[in-house]
Amino acid sequence: MFCEKAIELIRELHRMGDGQLPAFNEDSIRQVLEEMKALYEQNQSDVNEAKTEGKSELIPTIKFRHCCLLRNQRCIAAYLYDRLLRIRALRWEYGSVLPTTIRFHMCAEEMEWFNQYKKSLATYMRSIGGEEGLDITQDMKPPKSLYIEVRCLKDHGEFEIDDGTVILLKKNSQHFLPRWKCEQLIRQGVLEHVIS
């Protein structure tokens, strides 16, 4: 049956229900496009034959192939769209700089989309909350205090806080830091929020 390759793309994404981004499957997409090209050309030729020689019995077959074309189109469109939803989520979960392993999973156009999305978000955030703008990617959970206790989960080097002090983030070191400075690093798994 046609469209078996296309459904594999969908299964690949469906397997990762938590929103992870698998590598861009350029190979499968190319195969689906090739199948679509073949179906389209066969239909073109049959349509001409049906018109010029009056072979109306070809119509069910033409319809059949057309259904397959639409199905392949739907699968590819949904595949690309769902990947964009995952890439969008990356901006909110990881921040604006993505680790290289994830970047390798994106095709050039997706990287471009990510950059544009980042820009749109930044522009929007600058436009609200008065002069300095408002970082809406912060305070995802209701804050209870200005300063929090954090433990370093891995070496992250030097870290400067607002009053100019430089902190060395070494694995297992504990610090008492402003909440807003730590939030991103906690989300990224570099620091751990310690509650006594």
Binding site: W92, G189, E192
Partner: protein, 211 residues
């Protein structure tokens, strides 16, 4: 509570499909027993048992739902779709007797979704089918909701085993609500945590390295 940043397109409601929904695409991949009501020239190679160049009229073959939906026409006879066993009278009586005991995952796994889609094919039994699906859902919903709201921090595989995909989504939503509430009750809702996406990526990277 995990802030959900990845928001996939959900499946459609009732007889509608959502074009971009991965669940709906997988659902419409399910195969149905069909009968061709006209010949399909030059497509004989698709039908394993046919040695001819064409698929003759009257061939019994399995078609995926998406194809059956695309080819089906109310007025013209192009293809006719048989009701899968689960939606026929025999099973409908079983569901009517006690919907809660049936293993809908084995019968489906898309019992409600596929059942709703079957209504597109103008079967004379449509009213009964629609009614059975609805009553089955009503009969099972209470138990699904109860178990999802009470299973805290335990292995839920036994509870989820016999649920179809729609019920599993509901169960998951219930669990998510329950966990969030428990976190709030413990005063941990302001506890900042690493993004679960980040954690999962890291877990995968480690297994990739080990492979």
């Amino acid at each position: 509570m995990d802030a959900q940043s990845y928001m996939p397109i959900p499946p459609g409601i009732g007889m509608e499909e959502n074009f971009f929904s991965l669940d709906d695409i997988l659902l419409s991949h399910e195969r149905l027993p069909c009968r061709t009501e006209s010949a399909f020239p030059r497509l004989g190679f698709l039908e394993k048992s046919s040695e001819t160049r064409d698929i003759p009229e009257g061939t019994k073959m399995e078609m995926p739902l998406w194809l059956a939906k695309g080819l089906y026409e109310r007025k013209r006879r192009v293809v006719s779709v048989e009701l899968p066993k689960v939606y026929r009278e025999g099973w409908r009586t079983v569901f009517g007797a006690d919907p809660a005991v049936v293993d809908l995952h084995k019968m489906g796994p898309y019992y409600y979704g596929l059942g709703s889609q079957m209504l597109h094919f103008d079967s004379p039994e449509n009213t009964e089918i629609a009614n059975t699906i609805l009553q089955t859902f009503i009969g099972r919903f209470r138990r699904t909701m109860d178990s999802s709201q009470n299973a805290y921090n335990e292995d839920t595989s036994a509870l989820v085993e016999r649920l179809d995909c729609l019920e599993r989504t509901l169960f998951k939503a219930g669990q998510s609500g329950l966990n969030s509430f428990q976190l709030w009750e413990k005063g941990r809702s302001s506890h900042l945590t690493a993004s679960s996406l980040v954690i999962n990526y890291r877990k995968r990277k480690i297994t990739d390295l080990q492979a």
